[in-house]
Amino acid sequence: MSLEQLEKTSPAKVLTGPGESRRRVASAFDGSRGLMLSVARDKFALIGILFMLVIIISAVFAPWVAPMDPNDGDIARRLKPPAWESGDWSNLLGTDQQGRDLLSRIFWGGRSSLVIALSVVVLAGSFGTLIGLLAGYFGGKVDTLLMRLTDVQTAFPGLLLALLILTMVGPSVTALIIVLSINGWMVYARMMRGQVLSLREMPFIEAAQAIGANHRRVMFRHLLPNLASPLLTLGTLEFARIILAESILSFLGVGVQPPDMSWGLIIADAADYFQTNWWFSTFPGLAIALTVLSVNVVASWLRTQADPLQRSRRSANNAQGH
C-alpha cells in the first residue's frame, strides 16, 4: 500500500534510472511491513506463518473442524458465555444472539473472509498486472493513457464509492468481490509498470526481442516470471488489506449477508451486545486482528526472502544491533 502511495506521489521516480526505481520500490516495501523482519528475524515470521496456516486450515476444513452447525441455533441458548465462564464445554467460545456456536461461526466466517480476500487478490492482481505490463512494456502513449487512468482512479474515495455501489446494487459476495477488485487493481498496475521499466532494458529481454519473440511472448514468458516474487509479496499485503476492507463493509451491512457469515458480519451482530456480552464481539475481532497481523508478518518475510539487497542489509543491521 505504501508502495502505491510512494509510487503515486513521487513523480521523481520516473526521472531516476530503472535501477534506482527498483531500489525505491524495494525500500517502499521494506518501509511498510518488511521493516519488522529486519529486526525481528524469523521468529515472528515463523509464528506468523504458523498462525496463518492454522487460520487457512480451519477455514478450508471448516465443515469438519467446526464443532457445530454454524447456522443451527436455539434462542433458548442465546448469548451463553465461553466455556470457562459458563462451565458448559459444548460451546467453547459461547454462543451468539441466536444461540449459535460462536467458535463454529468464526471458523465458517473465516472461510468467507479468506475466499473473498483471495478472489479479490487474484482478480485485481491479474487485471492490474496486465495493465502494468502493457504500460511498462509499450511505454509512450499507451503508458501515458493507462497510467493517467490509474492515477485518476487512485484518487477516488474508494471506500465511499464501494459503500454506494454495494448499497445500490444490493449487497452480495459477488458484488463485494467485484467492487473490491475494481478498487484494488491500481496498486498492482503501478508496481508492475515500475518493475517492467527496470527490466525492459535488460539483456535477456533484448535478446528475446532480437530472436523475434512477439510482444505477448516477451511479456508473459520473459517478463512475468521475473516479476513473480514482488507480485507475491504485494498480493500478500493486499490480502491483509482486503480482509480489513471486507470486514468494514460487512460491518456496515453492505458486505456478506446472512445466512452466510464473515467476521465483520459477526461483529455487526455483536455491536448491540459488546457491553453486555463481551465475548461476542471480542473473539471475531481478535480473529481479524491476528489474521491480518500474521499475514502482514508473512508478507514482510516474503519480501526479505525475495530481495537480496534487503537480506544483506538485514544482516548488516543485525551485526550493528549486537
Binding site: I75, D269, Y273, Q275
Partner: protein, 560 residues
C-alpha cells in the same frame, strides 16, 4: 454488576495484551507526546474527575447527577433542584433526553418521523389529547367537540391561549393547520393519517367545523394526532427549523446532529411543567445508550435493549404500539395454501421469542395486530398456540413438507428485527420447512414490501398503531388493495369498507371483530408479538412512560 466486572476485566486483559504492546511501545515516546497530549490529558483529567463523581452518584444515590456539558449543568442543576423542592411553582432543573435519531425537520406537519414527533410533542399541542392513565380521548386545545352530522364535527376552542411567538390561538390556527396539511402541494408525509378529511371551516373565532369526505368514526383520534400551528408563522420557511407552538415548552436552539434545546413556557395555559430546561440528543446506536446513561450524560433513552435493562440505573416499560409480524403472500406462490400458513403460525414459538429475544418485554399478539385497548380488538380471537406436531401434520396434509420459500427482512429499523427473522427461520426449519432468509438493505426491502402484485413469499414488517384503531392498519395490510397487502379476502374487504363508514360504535365494533376472526383463521400473517417500549433512565428522573410512546416532559419530575 460484580460478575460483569470480572468478565469485562477479562476483556481488558485480552485486549490490553494487544493494545499494551502498542501503548508500551510508545514508551520511547513518552518524551515525544507531551506536546500533543498536553491539552488532551489536561482536559481528560478534569473530565475524569467530574465523571467519577457522576458515576458515584448514579450507583450510590439519585441526587443531582450532573449532565454532559459540565459548565452549565453542574452549576445550574443543583441550584435549580433546590428551588424545585422549595417552591412548586417555578419550573427548575434540566433533563437530557436521548431519542432514536436526528429529526429530519422540525415542521410538525410535513414529515412522518418519530424523532420529529418526540421533539414537537413537547412544543405543539393538539385539539384533543389522550389521558396518560387510560389513553382515553380528552380535551386539549379544544374545550369540547360534537358530531353535527355524518361528515361534520364541531370543535369549540379554548380561549386566551397564545403561541410562543405571541400569535393568538383561535379558529384561524385550526383552519390553517388543516388546510396546510391537506394541501397537495405541501406533500405532507402525514397525509395517511388525515386522508379522510375534507376541509375545515371557521364558524366564529373560537368555533371550527371539520368536514370529512365520508363518515369518519375515528376523527377524534386523528385530532389527537394533528398538531396545531400558528396561522401566520406557518406560512414562513422558518417553521421547519424554529418550531412555535402553544405547548408547555418553547424552542430555544437546534444544533443539528448534536442537540435541541427547549425551555419551559412561562405563560403556559395548562399545568406548568416542573422541569425548566430540556436537552434532546439523538442516540442512534443501541450500544451507545447504556454508557451514556451510566455516566449521566443522558437522563432518558428510548428503546433500551432488553439485555441492557439489568445494567441500566433505572428502567421502565410499557405496552408499545409496535407489532412486528411476518406478512405471508396468500394470493400466489408457495404459501397460497391456508394450511401451510396456519402451519407456519403453529410452528413458531412466540413465547420463546418473547422470553429470549425480548427478555420478556413483549406481549403475545392475539391473532390480530391490535392491542386489547384498541378499537376493533376481538377478545375471542386468540394467538395460534405453539404446536410443532400440528404444524407438521398440516404441512403433510397440504403436501408441503420440505417446502422452500423466501423470507425477506431488513436489519436495524426495528428493535431486534433481524434476530426475530432469524429465530423464526430456525423454528420453521425445525418443522421441515426451508425458509430462505434474505436480509435486505432498507430501500431494497421497501421495494419488496410494496411489490404487492408480485410479493415476496414472506416478509418481516412491523406495524405501529398510533391511532388505537383498526382502520389504518387493517386497510393497509388486510384489504385487497391495501398499500402493503398481499392478502385478499372479499369478506374481509367488505367488512373493512363498511366499518370505515360506520359511525355507530357498536355496529362498527362487530364489523371489525368479524374481520379479525377471518383474517386470523386465514393466517394472513405470521402473527408474532406486541413489543413493549423500554426506557432507560437515571435514578433522578421520575417518569411513567405513556402507552402511546409520547415523551412528554410535562409528565416528568426530577428527584431532589
Amino acid at each position: 454488576m460484580q460478575k460483569s466486572n470480572t468478565r469485562s476485566s477479562f476483556v481488558v486483559l485480552t485486549i490490553s495484551t494487544m493494545l499494551g504492546v502498542l501503548l508500551l511501545s510508545a514508551c520511547g515516546d513518552s518524551t515525544a507526546t507531551p506536546a500533543t497530549s498536553a491539552s488532551t490529558t489536561a482536559a481528560a483529567t478534569t473530565a475524569a474527575s467530574t465523571s467519577t463523581t457522576a458515576a458515584a452518584v448514579t450507583t450510590a444515590a439519585p441526587a443531582v447527577a450532573t449532565t454532559a456539558a459540565p459548565a452549565v449543568a453542574t452549576t445550574a442543576a443543583p441550584a435549580a433542584a433546590t428551588t424545585a423542592s422549595t417552591s412548586k411553582v417555578a419550573p427548575a432543573g434540566k433533563v437530557t433526553i436521548g431519542i432514536g435519531g436526528e429529526p429530519s425537520t422540525l415542521d410538525p406537519q410535513s414529515a412522518e418521523d418519530g424523532n420529529e414527533r418526540a421533539v414537537n410533542d413537547n412544543i405543539y399541542e393538539t385539539l384533543l389529547v389522550r389521558q396518560p392513565s387510560d389513553m382515553q380521548i380528552a380535551p386539549g386545545l379544544a374545550e369540547k367537540f360534537e358530531q353535527k352530522d355524518l361528515t361534520t364535527w364541531r370543535f369549540t376552542l379554548r380561549k386566551g391561549i397564545k403561541f410562543h411567538n405571541g400569535e393568538d390561538f383561535n379558529a384561524d390556527s385550526v383552519v390553517t393547520s388543516i388546510t396546510r396539511i391537506l394541501d397537495p402541494a405541501f406533500k405532507s408525509e402525514q397525509l395517511s393519517f388525515f386522508g379522510t378529511l375534507d376541509s375545515a371551516r371557521k364558524v366564529d373565532d373560537y368555533t371550527v367545523d371539520i368536514l370529512t369526505k365520508g363518515p369518519d368514526p375515528i376523527l377524534p383520534s386523528r385530532m389527537y394526532w394533528m398538531k396545531i400551528v400558528p396561522a401566520k408563522y406557518s406560512q414562513t420557511k422558518d417553521i421547519a427549523e424554529k418550531p412555535v407552538g402553544t405547548g408547555p415548552f418553547k424552542f430555544v436552539e437546534w444544533k443539528r446532529n448534536q442537540s435541541i434545546t427547549l425551555t419551559a413556557n412561562d405563560s403556559y395555559w395548562g399545568t406548568a411543567p416542573s422541569i425548566k430546561d430540556v436537552i434532546i440528543r439523538p442516540f442512534k446506536e443501541n450500544s451507545t445508550k447504556l454508557p451514556a446513561l451510566k455516566t449521566g450524560d443522558v437522563d432518558l433513552v428510548t428503546n433500551l435493549l432488553p439485555e441492557q435493562v439489568s445494567q441500566a440505573p433505572k428502567s421502565a416499560k410499557t405496552t408499545g404500539v409496535e407489532f412486528p409480524m411476518i406478512r405471508l403472500a396468500t394470493r400466489t406462490g408457495p404459501l397460497a395454501n391456508a394450511k401451510v400458513r396456519q402451519a407456519i403460525n403453529y410452528a413458531v414459538d412466540k413465547e420463546s421469542i418473547i422470553k429470549n429475544i425480548y427478555g420478556g418485554n413483549a406481549e403475545l399478539a392475539q391473532g390480530q395486530i391490535l392491542r386489547p385497548d384498541a378499537f376493533g380488538f376481538n377478545p375471542e380471537v386468540k394467538a395460534y398456540p405453539f404446536d410443532p406436531e400440528k404444524a407438521k401434520a398440516l404441512l403433510k396434509e397440504a403436501g408441503a413438507e420440505g417446502l422452500a420459500f423466501d423470507l425477506v427482512g431488513e436489519s436495524g429499523r426495528w428493535l431486534k428485527d433481524k434476530e426475530v427473522i432469524e429465530a423464526v427461520g430456525q423454528q420453521l426449519t425445525k418443522v421441515g420447512l426451508k425458509p430462505n432468509i434474505k436480509i435486505n438493505e432498507w430501500s431494497r426491502y421497501l421495494d419488496q414490501l410494496f411489490a404487492t402484485e408480485n410479493p415476496p413469499h414472506s416478509i418481516f414488517v412491523s406495524n405501529s398503531n398510533e391511532l388505537f384503531d383498526a382502520d389504518r392498519a387493517y386497510s393497509a395490510y388486510f384489504a385487497c388493495k391495501g398499500r402493503v397487502s398481499s392478502y385478499c379476502n372479499d369478506d374481509v374487504d367488505k367488512l373493512l369498507d363498511q366499518a370505515r363508514a360506520e359511525t355507530d360504535v357498536a355496529k362498527r365494533t362487530i364489523l371489525y371483530k368479524d374481520a379479525m376472526k377471518i383474517s386470523r383463521d386465514d393466517a394472513a400473517m405470521l402473527f408474532l408479538v406486541n413489543i413493549s417500549d423500554i426506557y432507560g433512565m437515571t435514578q433522578r428522573l421520575d417518569w411513567k412512560p405513556r402507552h402511546d410512546g409520547k415523551i412528554l416532559v410535562t409528565e416528568m419530575k426530577l428527584a431532589k
